[in-house]
C-alpha cells in the first residue's frame, strides 16, 4: 500500500471530513469514532481505491454507509426519542440570535433519523446533486427526493422558528403540505 499517499490524502481532507462527521453525529466523540471507523476501512482498501481513481467519492460513500449502518444496527430506538441522555434544558436568554438559531437547528437535527440527517448534510452542506447524494448513500434518486422532503418537513415541525431555512426551491407540494399548514409556513 502507498502509505504516504494515504496520509497525504487524509491530511488534505481531515478538516472537511471532520465537519461532515460532526454534522452527521452532532457529538464530538461520536464524530471522532465515525471518522476513525471510516478511515480504517479506507486504509484497508486504499490500494484498490487509488486504482479506481475516485478516492473522494469512495471515502464519502464509506462514511455515509458507516453512519447509516449504525442506524441499522439499532435494535433499540437509541438514536431517537428514548435515549438515556435526556434533552438539554432551554437555551439561555443571553445568547446571540445566530447562536440560538444554530442550537435550534442542532436540536432539530438530533431528532431526525440517521438517513434523513445524512440526506440534509449531503444536499445542503456538501451541495451534492440528487444523483451524487444517491450514489453516496447507495440508494435511488427517488429515495433521496423523498428522504429530503421528509427531513425538511420534519425540521419545519421541530423548529418552526427556522421556517425560512427549510423552504426547498423545487419542493414538490406533496409531502410538505401538512407541515406548512400546521406551522403557517408558505411553500
Amino acid at each position: 500500500m502507498d502509505d504516504e499517499g494515504f496520509r497525504d490524502f487524509v491530511h488534505a481532507r481531515l478538516g472537511w471530513l471532520s465537519r461532515i462527521a460532526y454534522l452527521l453525529t452532532g457529538d464530538r466523540h461520536a464524530a471522532e469514532d465515525l471518522l476513525q471507523n471510516t478511515l480504517i476501512r479506507l486504509s484497508s482498501r486504499w490500494s484498490k481505491v487509488v486504482a479506481a481513481g475516485t478516492p473522494d467519492a469512495y471515502v464519502r460513500k464509506l462514511m455515509y454507509h458507516e453512519h447509516v449502518s449504525a442506524w441499522r444496527r439499532a435494535r433499540h430506538l437509541r438514536a431517537e426519542y428514548t435515549t438515556a441522555e435526556l434533552p438539554d434544558g432551554a437555551a439561555g436568554p443571553d445568547m446571540a440570535a445566530e447562536t440560538v438559531r444554530r442550537l435550534l437547528l442542532e436540536q432539530a437535527l438530533a431528532k431526525l433519523t440517521r438517513k434523513q440527517r445524512a440526506v440534509i448534510v449531503l444536499r445542503y452542506f456538501e451541495d451534492l446533486s440528487e444523483a451524487d447524494a444517491a450514489e453516496a448513500l447507495g440508494v435511488s434518486v427517488g429515495t433521496v427526493k423523498s428522504q429530503t422532503s421528509h427531513a425538511l418537513a420534519r425540521l419545519r415541525e421541530l423548529a418552526p422558528e427556522l421556517h425560512v431555512l427549510v423552504k426547498e426551491p423545487n419542493e414538490r407540494a406533496v409531502g410538505a403540505v401538512r407541515a406548512h399548514s400546521r406551522n403557517g409556513v408558505t411553500a
Binding site: L14, R28, A31, S44, R73, R75, L77, Y124, L165
Partner: protein, 410 residues
C-alpha cells in the same frame, strides 16, 4: 436555502479537526493483515475466530485492581454541599483527548473507559480516582457498557446483522482476564457485584448469565413484548429493562411496532411494569424507560406528546412502594434521584431539595452558552457523591482538547 447552508456551516465550525489518521492507518493495516491471513490459510471461520481471540485478547497480563466491595448505601437524604473536580490520572501514552465511553459502578469507586495509547485501544480502570489499570482492548469492541463495584467491565461491539440475526458480541473483563460472553449475538448490558450479567441474545431474547463463563438463561417477558436496551442489574439482583409492545422483525430494519415501557424484575420474580402518571404537563404519557437500578430505586424517564410538543422528563421509582416521581428536566439522573441540570452552560447537581454547582477545572472557565469549554457529565453515582465526565477545553480555532474529570461531592 442559503440560510440552512450557513447554519450547517456554523454548526460544523464547532467540529474541530479529528486527527485520527495514524490510528486509522495502524488499525487498517491490522485489518489488511488479518484479511490476508484469512485468505492465505483458507481457514474456516471458526479457526479465524480462534486466531483472533488468541491474537487479540490480553497479551499483556494485567493485575486485577484491588477492590473491596463496600455495602450498598441507603438513599442519601442529606446531600453533598460541594463538588470538587480532579483530573483522572491517565496511563502513560494516553492523551487526554483519547478517553471515551466512561462508565462507573454503583459505589462511584470504579470508573472504566476506552482509551488510546500509541499501540491502539486500551481499557482503563480507575479505583477511587487513583492510578489506573490498563487492559488490552478486545479486538472489535466499540464501547464500555457497564461496570461493577468489583471492577468487572462489559465491552461490546454491535456490528449489524447476519441472516436477519444480530452479530453483537460482548467481552467481560474481570480478575485480570477478558472472556467472551457465550450465546449467539450475546449483548451484555448490565453487571452487578455478584458477577451476574443481564443482556440479550439473538432475536432480542432477554437473558442473564450467572457469571462471565456461564451459559445464558432466559428471563420471562410478558406476551407480545420484546426486550431491548437500556437495562441494568442491581447488586441485589433486581433487573430493570425496556420492553416494547410488538415483535422485532428484520423489516423495517429492526424496529418495534409499539411504544416502550420500563419494567423491573425483582430477584427471582416476574416482570412488573413501572407505574407512570397518566399525563405529563397535560400530555398523555405514552412511553417510559428505566436505565439504572440500585438500592431499591430505579431511574429513567417518561414521555408524552407528539412532534415539537413532545416532552420527556427524568423519573425515579421507589421499587418498594411503586411510587413514581417526575423530576425537573436534566441530562443525567441517578437511581437515588440525583440529576445533572444544565443552564446557560453551567452544570448543577440537583436532588433532595439541594442544588450543588458542578464546577469546571480551575483555570478553565466554561463559556456562558456552553458551546466551548463545555462540561459533560457521563457518570453520576446513585448517591450523587461521585461524578465523572469530560471538559472540552478546545481553544478558539485550535485542535480539540479535553480533560477527563472525576468530581467528589461532599
Amino acid at each position: 436555502m442559503s440560510d440552512l447552508k450557513e447554519l450547517l456551516h456554523a454548526i460544523s465550525d464547532h467540529a474541530g479537526v479529528f486527527d485520527v489518521t495514524e490510528r486509522a492507518f495502524v488499525l487498517g493495516r491490522r485489518r489488511r493483515t488479518r484479511q490476508r491471513t484469512a485468505f492465505a490459510g483458507a481457514a474456516t471461520t471458526l479457526a479465524v475466530t480462534a486466531l483472533l481471540v488468541a491474537v487479540n485478547l490480553p497479551a499483556r497480563p494485567a493485575p486485577e485492581p484491588a477492590i473491596t466491595p463496600v455495602p450498598s448505601p441507603s438513599p442519601s437524604m442529606v446531600g453533598p454541599s460541594a463538588c470538587t473536580p480532579a483530573e483522572l490520572p491517565l496511563p502513560e501514552g494516553v492523551r487526554n483527548d483519547d478517553v471515551f465511553s466512561i462508565h462507573g459502578d454503583p459505589t462511584g469507586r470504579v470508573l472504566a473507559a476506552r482509551a488510546w495509547d500509541a499501540k491502539g485501544a486500551v481499557l482503563v480502570v480507575w479505583v477511587d480516582g487513583a492510578s489506573p489499570t490498563v487492559v488490552p482492548w478486545p479486538d472489535g469492541a466499540t464501547s464500555v457498557d457497564a461496570v461493577s463495584s468489583t471492577g468487572a467491565v462489559l465491552m461490546t461491539v454491535e456490528n449489524g446483522t447476519k441472516g436477519g440475526r444480530e452479530k453483537s458480541k460482548t467481552w467481560v473483563y474481570r480478575d485480570g482476564k477478558v472472556t467472551r460472553l457465550s450465546g449467539t449475538g450475546a449483548l451484555g448490558l448490565g453487571i452487578n457485584a455478584t458477577g451476574t450479567i443481564v443482556g440479550l441474545v439473538a432475536d432480542n431474547q432477554l437473558v442473564t448469565w450467572s457469571d462471565a463463563d456461564a451459559e445464558p438463561v432466559l428471563l420471562p417477558v410478558p406476551d407480545g413484548m420484546t426486550a431491548a436496551d437500556p437495562m441494568a442489574i442491581a447488586d441485589d439482583g433486581t433487573i430493570a429493562a425496556q420492553l416494547y409492545e410488538g415483535r422485532l422483525g428484520p423489516k423495517p430494519a429492526y424496529r418495534y411496532s409499539g411504544p416502550g415501557w420500563g419494567y423491573v424484575w425483582p430477584p427471582g420474580g416476574s416482570p412488573q411494569r413501572l407505574r407512570v402518571p397518566d399525563t405529563l404537563n397535560g400530555l398523555p404519557v405514552d412511553a417510559s424507560r428505566a436505565f439504572a437500578v440500585a438500592d431499591g430505586w430505579a431511574a429513567g424517564n417518561i414521555g408524552g406528546g407528539k412532534n415539537e410538543a413532545r416532552l420527556t422528563r427524568p423519573t425515579r421509582w421507589n421499587l418498594a412502594t411503586g411510587e413514581v416521581e417526575v423530576l425537573a428536566a436534566a441530562e443525567r439522573v441517578s437511581p437515588h434521584g440525583w440529576s445533572i441540570v444544565r443552564k446557560a452552560g453551567a452544570l448543577t447537581l440537583v436532588g433532595w431539595g439541594t442544588a450543588v454547582p458542578v464546577p469546571p477545572m480551575p483555570g478553565h472557565p466554561i463559556s456562558r452558552n456552553g458551546v466551548r469549554e463545555r462540561l459533560n457529565v457521563y457518570v453520576v453515582s446513585p448517591d450523587g457523591r461521585v461524578l465523572a465526565g469530560i471538559q472540552d477545553v478546545t481553544p478558539m480555532n485550535g485542535l480539540p482538547a479535553y480533560l477527563t474529570l472525576r468530581w467528589t461531592c461532599r
